[in-house]
Symmetry: C2
Subunit: 663 residues, 2 copies
């Protein structure tokens, strides 16, 4: 049982690498930039429980007050900052954390309650709208902030008030007749409670997480009715009254509460909520070490439905803006002018969390493939090279109304600090290990980079080092140190997109087991250094034909590429009418551009761009002969860059990942 938020401290991430450069940017720029935003927007001081003028603002997304998430914005920043402080000290950040913790402690109510909005603005409405009002979501992030704080500072200044608050929650929610049979509209506290339980071993914490998971979607949970119906009735909601994100009355699939989780057949609703919830489910399966076959099956079924039918080429999830979530199977338009594309940054982070947990349940490269895909594309595209601009949604193609541009902040600011905290503990995603026995070690390597893992085994500290310029180059050099007396097994993930790979010296057994190459103890005793080489060849990929997206996307290794107008300045329509010949050759160029934050591999497709021209005289019918693909441009190349690096060099904001395939 290990959480990446705990074991990341076993990993150091030497420079230079893709990951280390991103971390340096966050340490140098993002943390302080975000701290400044917290201060200037009122979030920083909000736990002082004074009235802020913005509390009177009309909500952007009724019925949710804009400031409702402020608790979580602060908590996530504390969490991320504590991870980075484990790497490098920073007095300014430390001072801010101290002040914030003091304010949080002081904000706790006599009965343990701890929430800005429901203390300052609407104290009478506490726990009256779990469905919409993020009260327990905020509590979850406070718990996670406290865990990171306690892990770093080895004290309980933040943990103490949080535990008192959790006690209140444990008294308030549960199966007893005098308890509320409710559960959060936005899951998050479940995974936080399970992480808390790992630390406290307090059965109350496990019980509450389990209750929230098991009770969710119960059609008769409260007084023979769905809890959210009872809540709504108590609030006096009218039959046709519903939040803007619910297309129809009782759209409880929005928060994965339309039926018990074990009964859900397809992944539905708000994508971040779905990922946080399933992550907690996977954690529960691990914690209990019992079978819970229905839950295991459900999690796997929903994962598979998502990956096969509801995930974009970039690893992004969520096509529908109205509910920030999943469409029906295979509904994956590239852009808002095709019907939607959301792919929220936080949702990508959520997929990584779930994939990591599933990997620990079942070491299968299919999870790691998706984890890596999300990291390098759906998530890393969420932050600029400067570390000061962010995306919330990540369309695969821009439109006039949704340009490929990052923003400095958001009213609902979940994504920016989420990227921060992810990069803070990213070392915990690279590998997992088992050192439970004093003379045995197993390391499973999921992602490649330059990194060093130090693991205490018995009275030794074994080191595994990898050196690589991944994802730009596919060569990874390994060295295992101080393991001569240990029975070590190493499993290396071979990405499923790799159609060939080399291993030097010869691997003892080339056969892969669920996508992993096994290096057994005997072999490792003789070979403490070895090299994995995965040739990174550019390749065209396409989504499932049932998406009705007859497009080509360019990939190289785990990276998905895109076209930008800055490299292809002739574009006027977001590359919507461009057609791409899949037989074109592709060339690679190593580019060093300071504004990108790092040297990268650009790709160029050798082709004179062809543009679709359509005769519409017979609309709504088009004769086949009226669809032409015209060339005539002077350009003879299409220039692609990694999707993660888009919008770092100015331009008009025209961008596209998937290009219409030439017929």
């Amino acid at each position: 049982m290990a959480y990446p938020q705990n074991i990341f401290t076993n990993t150091t991430l030497p420079s230079p690498s893709f990951i280390s450069r991103r971390r340096e940017v966050i340490y140098a720029n993002t943390l302080l930039y975000q701290l400044n935003v917290l201060k200037t927007t009122g979030r920083y001081d909000a736990f002082k429980l004074q009235w802020h003028q913005s509390y009177s603002d009309a909500p952007d997304v009724p019925p949710i007050p804009n400031h409702l998430f402020w608790d979580s914005d602060v908590a996530k920043w504390i969490e991320g900052a504590c991870y980075f402080l484990q790497w490098k000290e920073n007095p300014e950040i430390e001072a801010a954390i101290k002040e914030l913790v003091d304010m949080i402690r002081a904000a706790q109510q006599p009965d343990g309650y701890l929430n800005i909005h429901f203390t300052v603005v609407e104290p009478e409405k506490r726990f009256s709208n779990l469905r919409d009002l993020h009260e327990l979501y905020n509590a979850g992030h406070l718990i996670e902030g406290a865990l990171a704080h306690s892990h770093h500072y080895q004290n309980d200044f933040l943990m103490e008030p949080i535990l008192i608050y959790v006690d209140l929650l444990c008294r308030t929610f549960g199966p007893a007749p005098d308890q509320k049979h409710g559960y959060p509209g936005h899951p998050e506290i479940e995974l936080a409670l399970l992480r808390l339980y790992e630390k406290t071993k307090d059965p109350k914490h496990l019980a509450l997480a389990t209750y929230f998971i098991e009770e969710r979607g119960n059609p008769k949970g409260q007084d023979g009715q769905h809890y959210y119906d009872v809540e709504a009735e108590a609030r006096g909601d009218k039959e046709n009254e519903r939040p803007v994100y619910m297309p129809k009355p009782r759209s409880y699939w929005y928060q994965q509460a339309h039926e018990p989780i074990v009964d859900q057949q397809t992944i539905e609703g708000h994508s971040v909520r779905a990922m946080y919830l399933l992550t907690a489910c996977a954690d529960l399966l691990r914690v209990e070490n019992t079978k819970r076959e229905n839950l295991r099956t459900a999690v796997e079924r929903l994962w598979t439905n998502m990956v096969d039918k509801k995930m974009y080429l970039t690893g992004g999830i969520g096509a529908q803006k109205q509910w920030e979530g999943f469409g029906i199977d295979y509904f994956l338009p590239s852009s808002t002018d095709e019907g939607g594309c959301y792919a929220e940054t936080c949702a990508g982070i959520g997929v990584m969390m779930l994939a990591e947990r599933l990997l620990q349940l079942d070491l299968n490269g299919k999870y790691a493939d998706i984890m890596e895909l999300c990291f390098y594309n759906a998530v890393m595209t969420g932050m600029s090279a400067s570390g000061k601009q962010f995306t919330y949604v990540n369309q695969l193609a821009s439109t006039d109304t949704d340009l490929s541009k990052r923003a400095e902040w958001f009213t609902c600011a979940c994504c920016p600090p989420n990227v921060t905290r992810l990069l803070g503990y990213i070392g915990g995603y690279l590998w997992t290990f088992n050192n439970d026995e004093p003379d045995t070690l197993q390391v499973n390597v999921h992602m490649y980079s330059s990194a060093q893992l130090s693991i205490p085994v018995g009275n030794k500290v074994v080191e595994l080092e990898q050196k690589s310029n991944w994802p730009w180059e596919g060569r990874v050099e390994f060295a295992l140190r101080n393991a001569s007396e240990i029975k070590s097994t190493i499993k290396l993930r071979i990405p499923s997109w790799a159609d060939e790979w080399r291993f030097v010296p010869n691997a003892p057994d080339q056969k892969l087991e669920q996508g992993y190459l096994t290096l057994p103890p005997d072999w490792l005793k003789k070979n403490s250094s070895f090299v994995l080489e995965v040739p990174l060849k550019p390749r065209f990929v396409t989504p499932h034909p049932y998406t009705n997206q007859d497009i080509l996307a360019l990939a190289r290794g785990p990276l998905i590429y895109c076209l930008e107008d800055i490299d292809n300045p002739w574009v006027t329509d977001h590359f919507k009418s461009l057609v791409l010949d899949p037989t074109s050759t592709i060339e690679e160029t190593n580019v060093s551009a300071e504004e990108m934050g790092e040297p990268y591999v650009a790709l160029a497709v050798n082709t004179i761009p062809s543009i679709l021209e359509v005769g519409t005289e017979l609309s709504p019918h088009i004769e086949l002969s009226a669809i032409k693909q015209e060339t005539g441009m002077t350009s003879d190349k299409l220039h692609f860059i990694p999707y993660a690096l888009r919008d770092n060099r100015g331009g008009k904001g025209h961008m596209r990942v998937g290009i219409r395939k030439k017929r």
Copy 2:
């Protein structure tokens, strides 16, 4: 100025023809079948103003009571029945009309008010929710029913109470300070009032129609606010309270009331409402004979947006089920499992109405092409060969949840009587004429069939006959009679899909003017008989590539074809994975099958069916090589039938119009 509802009596429709067979079925089966449904469901007696048990039912579509449309169901049946009675007497139908008219007269309130729901169920809510509650829509259908009744019976038994009701409406709505500045959520009364005005010449009737059209969407119409906002406030609606068909609060685009009509740039919302509204706008343009350039431009802009970007291959409109209407530009999925497809039968009828009105404003074959396309596909698919089963929605492909099956009736039963009344006056769509001068006649022939037009010109009655087995055969024989002393001009529409056509004897001028071939008086004097021959060759058509529907549909003349499982029994997936090679040859067969109601031309594509097979190992990426098109079936043909004739022979309900194009 002519309405097809008035001039259809100039046309007789001899048997056999596609149209005459449909009319015979309606006369023989549908009218009495529908009368029986009206009786058994409570609609027939509803104007007796007694309580009916179903008035307590929970609404299928809150907040609209299921019985709210009953007035219109009755009125449309009366209207359709009166049209058919002009062709053939029927004592049973006449007795029913008489009884219904008596009940309607007796139902009128002392102040002239006339509505079932707001007299029996919620009298206190009269005119309190124009936005949602169809009060004026019902009034519009009563007016149209009265017009048909008065036209046939040449008395005012029904017209009398209706005129009294209209007087009440004219007092209630308008620009005066003591009048309500409202307009119907569901347009219909506008076009009805304009037709009424043509008969009464009462300026009040024109003024109210004009007011409803001009006031619509006024952001400050009532007390400086949008009328629907003021209404909602007066009802005590809460901020987030909205009907199920409104995805967001204040989605007034649903009823084309988000801004004044002249400002609307794209066609939005509920498709039937949009068509009825624009039909009235076109009528207003004709009635006033003034320029109103803004309105003319707006109607043309919205028509073009619809035809080019929001219309299905079948002429169907409406992709989104939630609001029974238009999606964004080019959002035209074939089926619910692709994101939607609605194409309501009534909407197709509405397109025909609008196209006919536009043809009278501007004789352009582009309108007639769409009118004919809708008739033979989007509309005619709405009724079974028996005349006793109907569709409301008309997907272009079936799915497991939406089989290609007609139903016997609907709670919201707008479509079945709408088809009835359309076929009642269909003769009025075939051609328009101008006989204003005593010695001059112009006839514009828009659609072909076997039909005879009789037009008084001066003291003569000129006859124009066409004889044709259209749409199965493209030969049309014309005879002009009794016109020797008349300056006659005939314009014949040459369908835009015809890549060739022949005219015997030689036409005086082969050049087409906006899609019409002109036969001038001199030539007609010498040639009173002539033949137009339009070869009906099967052809493949496809929607615009921006729809992301890379499909082929088979067309022949104005007919769109489809595949059904009864002819291709190997199908298990609604032909979703089938791929079709556009270079395949097509063969025609004349089929005589009693259950289809008429002999028809079936098409077969000579190809061994290929099925898409997709390797999903790398989801969400698919390698190009993992998409295969496998054959191996024993069948060597794909059998197509006209979409209008689907679901007449049993089967599983698997059907598809657009087949994935083979790469």
